[in-house]
């Protein structure tokens, strides 16, 4: 079995070509649904692509949507590497973003070079705590992280909603007061006028740095090595003298911290306050992003771009088709991509093999 691998079994095929094929196919299926609601699919797709990719404003909106998806996707991906299924990114990002806003509203007069890292740290700590809890419970009691993270989502949502609308809110609103001006992350349109009006901001750089960090951590460091062993074979990890419990806690905490960074985009880069209901399911979308990105940090960025485009594109075509249809399209993409991993791979590989064989004979 030591021969050269068939090219279809190369990672590039598995990790890039197959998802792309899945996306293309899912758009084709989506076209059927668009036709059913009585619109011309080509026209709808034309609007979708041209308004998202066709001008700077559209690209800005797309990137603005992408940033939180990168954080959420990384959060899910790193937990996945440790063999954990983090359904709790939504709650973690709520707590993290709220922590950012809360620290920001009480730290006026601090210079930007301290304030910005401080608020970023607040998000990390807030989300990290919310990831630590299910990690700790998993490691110490064996309580399943899926159930616990789902439950903690409810707790997080209720908590921040209560505080954002009752205790820390500006009267007659559902948002907190503004953070200190020095804590603001500049928008793109400050430097590039083409992005005028789009809230896209430099927190996307934080997201990219986070992706690089996750890649480096997992691929290059000793704790990352241990984390992967735990995720792939906990028994072997135990055998290798690796503290499995500690790694479970650590990965959930890091995952939570990554999700907690979502606040950099919304709180520090856009509204400058925390608003109840600012995220509708970003954390859950993170699961799809991680899956589509094959849990690879750079794959996550690509997947987040796709979903960012779908999210903003959904808004764009909303004057033509009901918003439910956009949800359907997103769901189809996810279903295709997830199923494709096995189905496409097998059919493709088998097909190419029979072809190679007949060529050889």
């Amino acid at each position: 079995m030591a021969e050269k691998r068939h090219w279809l079994e190369h990672s590039i095929t598995q990790n890039f070509f197959v998802p792309v094929l899945a996306v293309v196919l899912s758009f084709a299926v989506g076209a059927i649904f668009i036709a059913i609601v009585g619109q011309n699919p080509i026209e709808v797709y034309y609007v979708l692509f041209s308004q998202t990719l066709g001008n700077e404003y559209g690209i800005g909106q797309l990137l603005f949507k992408t940033t939180p998806l990168i954080f959420a996707g990384l959060s899910v991906a790193i937990c996945f590497k440790a063999g954990l299924f983090n359904i709790g990114a939504e709650g973690q990002l709520q707590i993290g973003a709220f922590a950012t806003a809360l620290v920001g509203m009480y730290t006026f007069g601090v210079p930007a070079f301290i304030e910005i890292p401080l608020l970023v740290l607040a998000g990390i700590v807030g989300g990290g705590i919310w990831g630590f809890i299910p990690g700790y419970l998993k490691a110490k009691t064996g309580a399943h992280e899926v159930i616990n993270t789902i439950m903690l989502n409810f707790v997080a949502l209720a908590l921040v909603s209560y505080f954002a609308t009752n205790i820390y809110n500006v009267p007659a609103t559902v948002h907190t007061p503004s953070i200190a001006p020095t804590g603001r992350i500049p928008r793109f349109d400050v430097f590039f006028s083409g992005f005028e009006g789009s809230p896209v901001n430099f927190s996307i750089l934080i997201a990219i740095v986070a992706a690089i960090f996750v890649w480096y951590y997992i691929d290059r460091t000793r704790p990352g090595y241990e984390l992967r062993v735990v995720g792939l074979n906990a028994k072997a990890a135990e055998f290798g003298g690796i503290n499995v419990a500690r790694n479970l806690i650590l990965s959930m905490t890091i995952g939570g911290a990554l999700a907690g960074l979502v606040g950099t985009n919304y709180v520090m880069g856009y509204k400058y306050y925390f608003e109840e209901g600012f995220s509708t399911g970003t954390g859950f979308m993170g699961i799809a992003v991680a899956l589509l990105g094959n849990n690879n940090p750079f794959g996550v960025i690509l997947a987040a771009l796709l979903f960012g485009m779908l999210e903003y594109g959904g808004l764009v075509i909303n004057t033509m088709v009901p918003k439910e249809l956009v949800s359907i399209l997103q769901a189809i993409v996810i279903i295709f991509v997830i199923s494709s991993n096995k189905i496409f791979r097998k059919t493709l590989v088998n097909y190419m093999k029979t072809r190679t064989l007949s060529v050889n004979q």
Partner: protein, 363 residues
């Protein structure tokens, strides 16, 4: 022993994104993909010459998140659009945003369209977003239903905050409840606890007490978040609880949550009072009346003003009893439920409020 399986399995593990060694076939596909996109788009844009509407001739509207179909003020706003379409010949487009950060994008989306001249945001939550967008698009007109008006902050001159005197309408349905209760207990169920909904509650309580000082008003809220407007199960639970505590009429100001209140009224054979729109059809025979907030009238009026060139922004336009912005329902459906003397008394109160003889508290 079965190499084909082994080989399949041993591939998935390395997930490095490396372009080195990408076989030609892949590159071919990538190039194809990248190339196809603009080509198809280009073809489309050539083939499709949309008959473009004249500039600033259409109206745009952005619903609240999850707003459409609330059988309440989002639907009322939509009704206003249709009225304008029917009687003014106006064309409209609308967007239903998927999340909180989409509101501003959606407003901009519409403002960017040449054909659209007037854009509505539905709900107080649009306050900040629509203010920002109005500043960026001085040539376009904006209006926002339930705008949170703060007299210390300037409102752009191309933006009309639309406010309602919900407390006035609530006062009148409160009076009906106060006059008609047999148990001396009536209920109020609010959606999200907030200053806006408190206006309904306070006006209602004042109305009840004005005509029936001894009556007791039970008050409950479905929650503290926006979700509280979308939770019929919770609404039903709260209503059942109030009915079983002796209330025989419940007024709700809770959006979709109120659908649960009507269900409880039907089950317990009691009365409920609708809000925002005439909600008779939710539980015929059990909806005593509805406090209508004529979002449709406000939308229609403003479109009309805009069309006639009389759009005046910068300060709130307030729709109260006097302006026919709020009212209670009394028609052939619920006429048999409300005795004539009660109706007369309430009409009289209405006139006194319009005349300024009764000051209805709002908070």
């Amino acid at each position: 022993m079965r190499p084909e399986f082994e080989n399949c399995r041993n591939t998935s593990s390395k997930e490095k994104l490396s372009w080195r060694g990408a076989p030609p076939f892949i590159r071919y596909y990538l190039v194809l993909l990248v190339a196809l996109l603009p080509v198809s788009l280009g073809l489309q844009s050539c083939g499709k010459q949309q008959p473009s509407a004249p500039p600033n001739s259409e109206v745009g509207l952005v619903f609240d998140v999850g707003g459409r179909g609330d059988k309440s003020f989002n639907d009322a706003a939509y009704l206003g659009l249709q009225m304008a379409k029917d009687s003014l010949g106006i064309k409209y487009q609308y967007i239903e945003p998927g999340g909180g950060s989409d509101r501003e994008s959606a407003l901009r989306q519409l403002a960017n369209k040449k054909s659209i001249g007037l854009i509505f945001g539905v709900g107080f939550i649009f306050t900040d977003d629509i203010t920002n967008v109005a500043k960026d698009f001085p040539d376009k007109k904006f209006a926002c239903i339930d705008y949170t008006y703060d007299s210390t902050k300037a409102v752009p001159s191309n933006l009309i905050p639309i406010e309602f005197r919900e407390e006035e309408g609530s006062f009148l349905v409160g009076a009906i409840a106060g006059l008609m209760t047999k148990t001396g207990k009536v209920g109020f169920i609010g959606g999200m606890e907030s200053p806006l909904i408190r206006k309904f509650q306070v006006g209602y309580q004042a109305g009840v007490k004005y005509v029936n000082p001894k009556a007791k008003v039970l008050v409950a809220y479905a929650g503290v978040t926006g979700e509280a407007f979308k939770n019929p199960a919770k609404g039903k639970e709260l209503a059942l609880s109030q009915y079983s505590q002796g209330a025989d009429i419940i007024y709700h100001a809770s959006g979709v949550t109120g659908l649960g209140v009507f269900e409880a009224a039907r089950e317990m054979n009691k009365y409920a009072i609708g809000v925002d729109m005439d909600q008779w059809n939710e539980a015929p025979g059990h909806v005593l009346t509805s406090m209508v907030k004529k979002g449709n009238m406000a939308v229609y009026d403003i479109i009309k003003e805009w069309k006639q060139g009389k759009f005046k922004g910068g300060k709130p336009e307030i729709f109260g009893l006097r302006d026919d912005g709020v009212d209670f329902v009394y028609d052939k459906n619920n006429m048999p439920l409300i005795p004539k003397p009660v109706y007369d008394r309430v009409e009289q109160l209405k006139n006194e409020i319009i005349a300024g003889k009764i000051k209805v508290p709002a908070s």
